[in-house]
Point group: C2
Chain length 437, copies 2
């Protein structure tokens, strides 16, 4: 590149947003990536790294080189940095931490101790705090001193002499006040904060409900430990939705989902364990049916209704499961709500079972002309829809109450279990009435 | 209530957040609700209404009464107000609009014309704009004049003499600048804006990517029409996730989902249409199997593998569907990506089919001792897993490309279609090899 073009490039880079850097980096052909990295300053690199996936973060760190990395890492949000460092080998991590500023490095090590799915795991220390006896002028001076540091914020948090969080002041409040006003006269006192151990989904819910831009994180004595910002919360909400989808479809749990870029081998490997489990469960259904071989040989027409009975039970179970999974993400479940939900779904199962059961009875009679066969099919569908609807509600609730990873209650699993027992009910009833069929 | 207690109550109410008002209102017993409404001032009522569901909004409006309502509606965010007014009868709507301030009423009528799922449908005019030739002092003065109006904002948008958006200034920038600095010297010029017709999911993606608090909405000539704030975007993201879940579980599309509070009748009514459709499709499977009656009568053991074959095809289809639904929400689909995705999933189907097919062949041989039966079962599973995996990918992609509401490609529908053709493949192969079975 010529010198003049390079200058133009730098001017352009200066006006870009972090996401733009990340997108340019991802689109660049591999040989140009190290060159691009060299053109960015430490602040731009820090911003870019935060927008990249972990694998690409490692790649960029590699291009930056060990000498320059500490300067870049120093400028990253500490919550993102803690996540990145966790992925390094212990030796690399130690090396990076020891090369960072002492205060920063201590905070990051502190952050790494919290469960990553709690307020402590997603908070950052990039906030500006002031004392309650400050004037507006003193507050603005402190903001000026820490301007580069607290780049993306809109509030200042107010601490008393014991470092207890006692109020919050927005930049707007500061603009509207006189320079000589005291902070404790203009601050908002009923600060809503979250405890450092609060689950990240609950933190997201707090920000979502109150339309906050950030929420302070405190310990049990109300000492301010950090803040969680709305952009981190959006990530939590998106992640939570992806988890719900995984539960419904059995496409692998946790961070290792499957997207459009996943390779054939990885995608197959993540889908296979579920399918193998379901294969074995499917064979359980088969061996159960085999016990009714005699019934089947006498009335082959029973087979015609098998896919419908098994399918319908699976479908109603999936519907119930989706409602429960979604509900557990947004609603609180006290005992009264639980009982109401279960009896509601018993009612729903009954309504669906009666309507579908009567309908299929009529269809079966017209098609096969046997009153007893249509009675068996009709009664089976009624029973299996009631049980299937309830199974889709009860199984995930039970796992939730037992604090078992609810990813186990996946849609296909419930469908396959419903297959198994719906066919048992069907062939059981058929065998009971075999002499009339 | 006594006078002193009333005073205490008012002091308490003054410190609450909008969400708190809404929660108190929802928890109050019905007879106390009108009394509570009477204790709130117009600003508090406006905040509370915005946090309530539409049915409760109507109830509150009813309690407020026609005389006081305009004052309350005037204070609501215009995007929320437009949504509310759309639900009123034409006569009521006219009456409300004519009682509002002229400028506000015109803007709201304007908003109601935009598609509710676009930037225009979710934007608000509660922002403060300034001219580029202002000084910081003039900007702060304008902010002070409009303070109550632009309550929750953190930026001021800068317009030139043609009302074209030319820059943005944060309150933080204002605090850090000198009072005599000119706005066009300190403003950020590369403002990222969205067009008024942009889909709301794309708006959400913009805010998510750039970690914005709000994004300006412009027409084709870059005139500033409104802004979309991050709290509205969170609602869009949550809504989008709920839609994905509905697609995977066939629990009703659009706003009318099912939650823990939905009544037995409503929940049944929303689930029933899908189940009836699936019932008929299930009977298609049945009548298809009936054509293979002769084959079935000769080899009853074929029945034992039916649930496994149909179930596995449905399961792999659900997995593929979930990956596509989730991906369509977050990734762009150009032609190259499409071809790569489809060939990836063909590969995945082949890997899964080979592993599961060989496994089930061994199991079938050990169990039933027939080489030909185990060959038919094994080959069927291989074929149906390939086709089922691809069907789960291709059907939603096709609907998406044809711009058909993708809610149609629900999980249970794909499962049931996969049932149908997997059993056709299975019994077709069995009939072909019947003399060897």
């Amino acid at each position: 590149l010529e010198q003049s073009k390079l200058k133009e490039l730098h001017a352009l880079l200066g006006e870009l947003q972090p996401f733009d850097f990340a997108e340019i980096y991802e689109l660049l052909p591999a040989p140009s990536k190290p060159k691009f990295v060299l053109q960015l300053d430490s602040r731009q690199l820090a911003m870019m790294i935060q927008e990249l996936d972990l694998e690409l973060q490692m790649e960029v760190l590699h291009y930056i080189g060990f000498e320059r990395s500490p300067d870049v890492l120093d400028r990253m949000d500490n919550d993102d940095l803690a996540d990145l460092l966790k992925e390094l080998s212990f030796k690399e991590m130690e090396a990076f931490l020891s090369s960072m500023q002492k205060e920063e490095s201590e905070y990051v090590q502190h952050l790494m101790k919290y469960d990553p799915e709690t307020a402590g795991g997603i908070m950052t220390n990039r906030f500006v705090w002031i004392r309650n006896h400050y004037t507006v002028r003193e507050a603005v001076d402190k903001l000026k001193a820490f301007a580069a540091y607290a780049e993306n914020l809109f509030y200042m948090y107010v601490l008393d002499e014991n470092k207890v969080l006692v109020g919050v002041v927005s930049y707007r409040d500061l603009l509207l006040a006189h320079l000589d006003d005291r902070i404790d006269e203009i601050m908002y006192r009923r600060v809503i904060s979250v405890h450092v151990d609060t689950d990240q989904e609950e933190v997201a819910r707090t920000i979502e409900r109150y339309n906050f831009i950030s929420v302070p994180v405190v310990d049990s004595d109300k000492h301010l430990l950090g803040i969680v910002t709305v952009d981190d919360v959006i990530d939590v909400i998106v992640h939570e939705a992806a988890e719900d989808i995984q539960k419904l479809s059995a496409t692998g749990a946790g961070k290792k989902g499957i997207d459009f870029q996943t390779s054939v081998i990885s995608a197959s490997a993540r889908r296979l364990p579920w399918l193998l489990l379901l294969l074995l469960l499917g064979m359980l259904s088969g061996s159960m049916i085999a016990r009714f071989e005699e019934t089947l040989e006498r009335v082959v027409a029973l087979t015609f209704f098998m896919p419908m009975i098994a399918g319908m039970t699976g479908n109603t179970g999936t519907q119930s499961l989706a409602i429960v999974i979604r509900g557990l993400g947004t609603e609180r479940l006290h005992k009264g709500a639980l009982i109401r939900l279960i009896s509601r779904d018993f009612g729903v199962g009954l309504v669906l079972g009666l309507i579908c059961g009567i309908l299929i009875g009529i269809i079966a009679y017209i098609w096969q002309g046997s009153v007893m066969l249509s009675f068996v099919v009709s009664l089976s569908l009624l029973l299996t829809l009631v049980i299937g609807t309830l199974a889709g509600t009860l199984i995930p609730l039970l796992l939730y109450k037992l604090k078992i990873d609810p990813a186990i209650a996946s849609g296909p699993l419930i469908t396959t279990l419903n297959d198994l027992f719906s066919l048992f009910v069907y062939f059981g009833l058929a065998t009971l009435f075999i002499n009339q069929l």
